[in-house]
Symmetry: D2
Subunit: 117 residues, 4 copies
Amino acid sequence: MSETGIKQLQQRIRDFADARDWDQFHSPKNLSMALIAEAAELVEHFQWLTEEQSRDLPEKTRTGVKHEMADIFVYLLRLADKLDIDLLEVAEQKIQLNEEKYPADKVRGSARKYTDY
Amino acid sequence: MSETGIKQLQQRIRDFADARDWDQFHSPKNLSMALIAEAAELVEHFQWLTEEQSRDLPEKTRTGVKHEMADIFVYLLRLADKLDIDLLEVAEQKIQLNEEKYPADKVRGSARKYTDY
Amino acid sequence: MSETGIKQLQQRIRDFADARDWDQFHSPKNLSMALIAEAAELVEHFQWLTEEQSRDLPEKTRTGVKHEMADIFVYLLRLADKLDIDLLEVAEQKIQLNEEKYPADKVRGSARKYTDY
Amino acid sequence: MSETGIKQLQQRIRDFADARDWDQFHSPKNLSMALIAEAAELVEHFQWLTEEQSRDLPEKTRTGVKHEMADIFVYLLRLADKLDIDLLEVAEQKIQLNEEKYPADKVRGSARKYTDY
C-alpha cells in the first residue's frame, strides 16, 4: 500500500461519508468526541498491563491495538480535512518546536520534562 | 513540506527521543496515555461550542486546535513506530472494512449507525 | 438505597477487589486509565447526538449512560480510597474556589469562561 | 465537612451555574466532554510515572491529582443532576452486578478479567 498517501486516504474518507450522507454528523466538535472515544479504546488494551507487557503484546491484543490506531488516524484525517489543516506540516512544526524547547544537552539524563512534577 | 512523509517524521521523532534518552518513558502503555491526554486538549477547545461554532473557529482557537492535532499525530506516529505498525496500511484496511460494513445504499438517509442507539 | 454513603461503597469496592486479589492491578496509574476509558464510553453515547437530543435521551441510551456513570464513579471512589482523598471535601473546596474565581456579577451574561477562547 | 452530602453539593453546583447563567452550556453532551477533559488531566499526572511511583506521589503531584479528581466529581454530579440519576444507587447496582459477574472463587488467582486479553 506504499502508494496511498494521506491525501488519498482523506479523499476516500470524504467519499465514504458523502455516499452515506454522514457529513452532517461530522462537525469538528463531534469528530473530536469520536477521536477521543477511539483513543480510549486504545488505552483500554493497556490499562491492566505492565509497561513491560505493553512492549510485547500477544497477537490478539496487537490486532486490537492496530484497529484502534487505525480508527484514531481515520478521525484525525477526517478532522484535518474538515478544518483544512495539513497534518504532516503541523506535526513537523511541532517537532521543531519541541527540539528547541528541550535542548538535548540540557535535558538528557535529568529528563526534566518527565520528572520535574 | 510536501516532501516529508510519515517515515521521515517517525525517524525524526525517534532521533528526538534518543538524543534525550527519553525512550525509556515511551512504553506503548505510556504513549497511549499521552495520546489520550492530547486528544482531551482537543476536546477542550470544542466542549462549550455549538457544532456550528466548531465549524467556523476564530483564529486563536484554530491555532490551538492545530497544535493539539499535531501532538496527537506525533504520539500516534511514535506508537506506530514502537509497535512496528504501518499507519497508512491499517487505516486503508479499516476504511475498506467500513465500506463493506455500511453499504451506502442501505444506510443512506436512515444513517442507522448514528441514530439507532 | 438512601442509607448507603460514599464510605460504605468504598468499603464494598475494597472487599470486592481483595476477594479477587485484584488489588495488584489497582495502582493509581492504572485506575486513571480505567476511569478515562469509562468516561469515553459516556462520550460515545453523546457523540453523534445534538445537544438538544442529549437533553432528552431515549430509554435505551439513558440506561447505557447510567451504567457508564456508575463505572466512572466506582473508579473515582476506588482511586480516592487508594490515595486517601476525601472526595466530598475536595469537591466542596473546588466549588468554593470556582465561586471566588468567577464572581457571578462579573461573568453573568458575558459568560467569559466559555466564550473568551 | 462530614455533613455535606451529594445532594447538597449538587444544589450548590446548580446555584453556581444558575447565578452565572451557565446552564445553557451544560447539555449532557457538553458535560460529558468537560468530564473527559478533566479525566485526561488526571491521566497526565500519571503518564510518565511507573505504577510504583503512582502509589507514592510527591506532595505537589498529589495536590494536582486532588484537584483533577474534584473536577471530575463536580462534572459527574452535575451530569447526574441534569439527567436525574442517583449516583450512589447506580454505583451500588453496578457493584452488585460485578460481584455476580466475577465470582471470587472463579477469578481469584487467575484474574481472568485482566489477563485473558
